[in-house]
């Protein structure tokens, strides 16, 4: 089992506020890693380090190292386009573009590929939608606006749009928080299928979800990664008292 992403002494500051404190972790390839913790603990911030989304915010300073496939992507020379192709993100609220379903999925291809053929695009749409188990449901409505889909379908579409770019890593920022329990179960099922091809990191405030879906779990509190290990171990035999307090429901 190799580590796809390794963080070393990772610190992140929003101005003078230290949001991540000395985070050291190794995220294993082709597994699902959950990051849990109370609101404001820095779990989403950590996720956004991995595709440099924090760059959009003024006054953010990051120190330490984040190695993806051995290369430190925090270095200024990192090409963000290449990085974000490789490390894709699914957001808390499904955010399909106000375009057709078809155009949403081929968006990545249109911006990244040099030559585009209609057949190539059709194939990408079919393959990506099949991968997220949405093809049979919407194959006859590909030219409809994506905003007309149900919430769950939108979130699946966002995942399809992402894997159409052929990333290695999927970052999921509370991807089920707007979905009902059945839809959540189906998206979790999808995540288990996807982990054969991708390395998945999911941030969730839902501990049951982390327990159900993930192989490894990290617990964060006030910017620190308190505990990181196999999910069964973290949930059944936490090493740190604070982890135990959290999973037994004593905070947030």
């Amino acid at each position: 089992m190799t580590d796809k992403i390794i963080t070393k002494n990772l610190d992140l500051w929003y101005g003078t506020f230290r949001a991540l404190k000395n985070v050291n972790a190794g995220i294993a390839e082709h597994r699902i890693t959950a990051v849990i913790g109370p609101s404001g603990c820095g779990k989403s911030t950590l996720l956004r380090v991995f595709n440099r989304m924090n760059d959009l915010i003024d006054g953010v300073r990051v120190t330490g190292e984040v190695l993806i496939d051995g290369a430190d992507m925090l270095l200024p020379r990192t090409d963000l386009v290449t990085l974000r192709k490789k490390v894709g993100m699914v957001f808390q609220r499904p955010n399909p573009f106000p375009l057709s379903i078809y155009e949403n999925i081929v968006f990545g291809e249109r911006i990244h590929a040099g030559r585009i053929t209609r057949d190539g695009l059709d194939e990408i749409v079919e393959r990506s939608l099949k991968d997220v188990l949405l093809w049979d449901e919407i194959k006859d409505r590909l030219n409809e606006p994506a905003l007309r889909l149900s919430l769950e379908q939108k979130q699946r579409l966002c995942i399809a749009r992402l894997i159409a770019v052929r990333p290695d890593v999927l970052l999921m920022d509370e991807p089920c928080s707007t979905l009902d329990p059945q839809a959540t179960a189906r998206v979790e099922e999808l995540m288990r299928e996807l982990k054969n091809k991708y390395t998945i990191i999911i941030v969730t405030h839902n501990m049951q979800q982390a327990a159900r879906v993930s192989d490894d779990t990290g617990f964060m509190l006030l910017g620190e990664l308190i505990e990181f290990g196999r999910t069964e171990q973290v949930f059944t035999a936490p090493r740190d008292r604070r982890t135990e307090d959290y999973i037994t429901g004593r905070y947030g």
């Binding site: 974000r84 993100m89 573009f97 968006f107 911006i111």
Partner: protein, 287 residues
């Protein structure tokens, strides 16, 4: 007692609201009543598509096609200049400019909107008109082009501020989504932000054009006011608005000329109304 006060205030506000509708209706009825005579005597078709406007010759020739084309030409020119610059400026302000520059630019745009059109007109007359004359080697710089450039300045603040608003109200999640897929800033703007804001931007453009069509003072000062069918953008033209402003004072009340000017008013009213309604449709579509 307090309740009584409430009722009085309520009724007063109601009256204010009704009054504005009432006055608009009165204006429209008056315009229609005075203008409709010409449609009877000259005929709607001959009035709209007649090629000569000689209102004081005997008998008067009242064809407003040169005026309509003059207005359209000046407006089209102004649109061609102000839309790309205005939308580009809106994109820059909404998406690219650092906070400080953004503030300065927005203040500048508001200042531009605050300049009275007659002031823009005379600045145009002493600077732009001679420039157009020398650059294109024309006998006179008082041309449709000079008018278009000047009017573009007037349409720009409307276009910039409404388009910027439309871009600003595009959900942040769209932008994040596009960037997270590896789109560059430009790809994000072009492929996601602009389509998402398109109805608001179209409304901005329509309102900008509406402002241009109705503008009078500046065009009267710098377009040369020749009521002939324009063959290019480099000749003097006369717009619908300038015609009314220039001729109303000397038209004999009750003469055909006088009624014709009101009929021009109706034409302008219809055009502006159509533009505003279209802009409104786009704005509501956004909501």
């Amino acid at each position: 007692m307090r309740k009584f006060k409430e009722i009085i205030i309520e009724k007063l506000i109601l009256i204010c609201g009704l009054a504005s509708i009432f006055f608009v209706a009165l204006i429209f009825i008056f315009l229609l009543k005075e203008g409709i005579q010409v449609f009877k005597s000259v005929g709607l078709f001959k009035f709209l598509f007649g090629k000569s406007w000689y209102p004081i010759s005997e008998p008067p020739q009242l064809g407003i096609l040169p005026l309509i084309l003059g207005s359209l030409l000046v407006t089209a020119g102004a649109a061609a200049i102000s839309i790309p610059i205005g939308v580009g400026c809106a994109i820059y302000i909404a998406e690219i400019a650092p906070l400080k520059i953004k503030e300065i630019l927005k203040a500048g745009i508001e200042l531009l909107a605050a300049i009275p059109s007659v002031v823009l007109g005379f600045i145009g007359m002493v600077t732009l008109v001679p420039l157009v004359k020398t650059v294109f080697h024309l006998p006179t710089g008082l041309t449709a082009l000079a008018g278009s450039i000047m009017l573009a300045f007037m349409a720009m603040p409307t276009i910039v501020s409404i388009a910027e608003d439309a871009l600003y109200s595009v959900p942040k999640t769209y932008k994040e989504g596009a960037l997270a897929l590896g789109a560059t800033q430009w790809q994000t703007i072009w492929r996601v932000m602009l389509p998402a804001a398109s109805s608001g931007i179209l409304a901005a453009v329509m309102l900008g054009i509406g402002r241009v069509i109705g503008e009078t003072m500046a065009v009267m000062m710098i377009t040369g006011n020749a009521a002939v069918l324009p063959k290019s953008i480099l000749v003097p033209v006369r717009t619908l608005t300038a015609t009314i402003a220039a001729e109303m004072g000397e038209a004999v009340v009750g003469a055909e000329h006088y009624f014709a000017l009101f009929a021009i008013g109706i034409v302008l009213f219809v055009i502006s109304f159509a533009i505003n309604v279209t802009a409104d449709l786009f704005l509501h579509k956004r909501e």
